[in-house]
Structure formats: structure tokens, C-alpha cells
Amino acid sequence: MAARVQTEDFDLGAEIARLRQGNPAIGAVVAFVGLVRDLNENASVSEMTLEHYPGMTEKALTEIEAAAKSRWDIVETLVIHRVGALQPTDQIVLVAVGSAHRHEAFAACEFIMDYLKTQAPFWKKEQTPQGAHWVDARESDETAAQRWIPPQAK
């Protein structure tokens, strides 16, 4: 279980190799990579700046990983999130989960992403031809996170 916030890029292949290194109990790895698109809400994006809340970010990510571990039978988790200035096609975030079987890895990886999107203190500012603006939170991300809450707990 690890969470890192960094300005530098990350190497997907090297990170996954490290995650599963020498662990023959891992039969499945699911990795999600989020990338900067050149288009968001119909506006073309030339650059994006990611701000975060140092201290709380790492805490929030670690708590989300712990929640995933308590919920599914998984072996390893990794979250890397970049901050600072990013351009289209740049990598923003990596979430990876290693487990014995595939369904747990898929579910836990998507769960971590959905919670990261609504709980981890990161904010995006986009540069477009119309100027710079802070990205609004999307209702669909809130809905995505809600679906993991058991009905009786809502």
C-alpha cells in the first residue's frame, strides 16, 4: 500500500513491476492511468495545473486504499498522483491493484478511482483559448462514488 504525490512523471511498467515483484500470489493486476485530454466540456485545453492540499492528500489516498483493502481480498495497492503544470497526453494519475483473482482487482481499482475523484483534495485549473478556469466538480463523479455505499448505510 503506497500513495505518492509528485510533480515528476511516472513509469507505468516500472511501477507495476515493483508492485508485483517476487510475489507469486498475485494473479491479477488492474492499472488505471488518467491522462490530460485536449478537450474538456467542449473547450480545447492547452495546459492544466493541478493544485493539492499537502498532508491531507496523502492521508486521504492512504485511507481510500485502506478502505479498498478492508473491502476486497487484494494484495497490493498503489496510487501516484501528479501535481503542477501538465499538457495534453501527460499522465495525471496511476491507481494499481494486485490480487489473486481478477474481479477483486477490477472492483478495488475502480473503487479507489471513484473515491479519489470525490475525496482526495486535488483541483484542476484548465488553460483554454477563452482563458484559465477552475474545473467544476461533476455530478457524475459523486454518483459514481455513491454506488459503492451499501443501501442500508446511505
Partner: protein, 84 residues
């Protein structure tokens, strides 16, 4: 004395990322703290208006209006998060 932090749009609009503040006696939770800041008027009143979706964290945990605030706390105000 508490530490108040502002992020993203709030940081820009308020023109500051942090301040130290001595809370008056009537401020005991997130709700009353927000109300107290709103009374500064101008951009404070505007950005912290009840209709605005502002999130608050107390000591780096997501908080609700009922969350207690006390001396020494680190309290952050920010828009809904948009990372990932």
C-alpha cells in the same frame, strides 16, 4: 488560535492561502466558523454563501457543518475536488 487554509478558487478569490485567526467564543463548529467568515462581506460573503458548494476539512479530515472546531485546529476551505 486556529490555522485557516484556502485552496483553488477560494485561495485566488480571497487572495490568500492561509491565515492565523483567534476564534470568537460563539464559534464552535464548522457552521458558525463559516458564518463568521461570511460576515467579512465582499468576496467572503459571496464565496461562502450557503448556496455555494464549499467543502471544509478539519485537521485534514473532510468535515460537516456540525464538526467541532477548537483552538489549534487546521481548518481548510475549498471547492469540491476535481483531481484524478
Amino acid at each position: 488560535m486556529v490555522t485557516l487554509l484556502y485552496f483553488a478558487r477560494l485561495r485566488e478569490t480571497f487572495g490568500t492561502s492561509s491565515e492565523q485567526a483567534v476564534l470568537p467564543d460563539q464559534v464552535g463548529d464548522v457552521r458558525s466558523l463559516t458564518e463568521w467568515l461570511r460576515q467579512r462581506g465582499g468576496v467572503w460573503q459571496e464565496e461562502l454563501a450557503a448556496a455555494r458548494p464549499v467543502r471544509v476539512a478539519v485537521n485534514q479530515d473532510m468535515a460537516s457543518p456540525d464538526t467541532t472546531v477548537r483552538d489549534g485546529d487546521e481548518i481548510a476551505f475549498f471547492p469540491p475536488v476535481t483531481g484524478g
